[in-house]
Symmetry: C2
């Protein structure tokens, strides 16, 4: 039995969609015991409850010794508002867990990795059930949480690796939540940003990552790019290649991650060491 606690560090979910995730889990992974924290359905303006509510729910899930994994229900925005305080209040049980999410959840994944607490993992969330083909994403995450390595990003090698949404990483760099990524392969993906904004983020992120001595960058999917009044004139892979060349970072090719149902799983660190909760 694998008990998975689900909370919402960012934005809220609905009970209807939670029921769909539970039904999917019961059919495919009867050994998974999903516990949606009530806070997943709380609303406070943009957020799934006040900062205090989101912090308290995360701490209850992470500090519970009976739980093997903490699964973020959705992204959006909000995890960075509680991550610093959350890290300060984690106890010993928090270090024995897997933490799974992506997008805005990367703020907490990064902070946990910096603090050396538990196993942060970049991968699908319950909220992906809303996507076309989203059941596959949810099943991939559940499979991973139940011990399968099938959903892992296919080109993970022996080097330590992390994965982030590009905007999330751009907001994380240089802050007290940012881990050192010396020697790491860094995977990035983006969604719903103009290409000029992606280029701007790449300027910022490569300026911060280059001095760390990362092993290189890999580019996931850049999706749902809004139409601009004129074409940007460069594709995302060329932009990454350009910023890597300017800053002396190795460009290591594409990555199978993104804000979509095909989003594969990237355990922070060396994959083999972290893939079982």
């Amino acid at each position: 039995m694998s008990r998975i606690a689900i909370c919402a560090p960012s934005t809220p979910f609905t009970r209807e969609d939670a029921a769909r995730v539970i039904a999917l889990a019961e059919a495919a992974f009867p050994q998974a015991d999903l516990r949606f924290h009530d806070q997943c359905f709380s609303e406070h303006g943009h957020f799934a409850g006040t900062d205090d509510e989101r912090l308290t729910a995360f701490l209850e899930c992470a500090n519970d010794p009976g739980t093997q994994a903490v699964w973020f229900v959705r992204g959006g925005y909000g995890a960075g508002r509680i991550a610093g305080e959350a890290i300060a209040r984690l106890g010993p049980a928090a270090g024995e867990k897997t933490y799974l999410g992506y997008s805005d959840g990367g703020m907490l994944l990064g902070a946990l990795y910096r603090a050396g607490i538990g196993r942060p993992v970049h991968g699908p969330m319950s909220g992906d059930i809303r996507r076309d083909g989203g059941e596959a994403a949810v099943l991939r995450a559940l499979g991973f949480l139940c011990g399968s390595g099938e959903g892992l990003e296919p080109d993970l090698d022996g080097r330590p690796t992390v994965a982030f949404n590009l905007m999330t990483l751009a907001m994380l760099v240089g802050t007290d939540l940012m881990p050192s990524l010396a020697g790491h392969v860094v995977l990035i993906e983006e969604v719903s940003e103009y290409l000029y904004a992606v280029d701007r983020l790449l300027f910022h992120v490569t300026a911060h990552l280059a001095p760390m001595g990362i092993a290189g960058l890999r580019l996931g999917r850049v999706s749902d790019v809004p139409e601009n009044d004129r074409s940007f004139g460069m594709e995302p892979a060329d932009m990454v290649r350009d910023w890597c060349a300017r800053t002396g970072i190795a460009f290591l090719g594409r990555a199978d991650i993104g804000h979509d149902a095909a989003n594969k799983i990237v355990p922070f660190g060396v994959a083999g060491a972290t893939q079982r909760p």
Copy 2:
């Protein structure tokens, strides 16, 4: 006679709008000699010409000993792609000039200020002629470039001050272009960003500015906020107050700057020392 060289470090302008700016200047400030560089009308994808073209035009304007000011024609995106190389290739004549612009132009203003070259100034650009009431903004900038202090932001005090678009500042912090702002009053403004994105930028920027020991933050206008599927639940001034309290930065109230025709002028450093070109 005040010769003002106009170039486009970011995105292109049109000859029609340039003619309107020239007509306005001829009527109100016959002592101003406006020279639109041809590069203002060059197009390369998103940009006003390739990086090389934009860099070359900026250097021609900045290194010309016959010119008293370099005026950026518009923002958009692109100045950060050439700013590092530009600074490295500025000669002695560049140090005798005023550099006026805002928005994406803040990348160059920040880099110039870090390098101690010339007098960077945050204020209206030729492109503001396109706004409702934009003639007033253009006239304010021209007046300043001809020696008037009338268009200055009304609450500048004896402390060194800078002003930035919030996104531009967020992309600048921690990079080789970022000046130290110890003891500075920092004015910020934003346009066309969701409030959750403004809050996210404030997290990032305050995390970088607090350790510098800035004198405090003042908030300009946050305009054209896109409608989200739900209300954020906080107004921009409350967000700034909150992030200032979290990071130990003094919140010094509102500022009369923004992406609009009322945008006032903020010379970098101490205003009295820099307001005449």
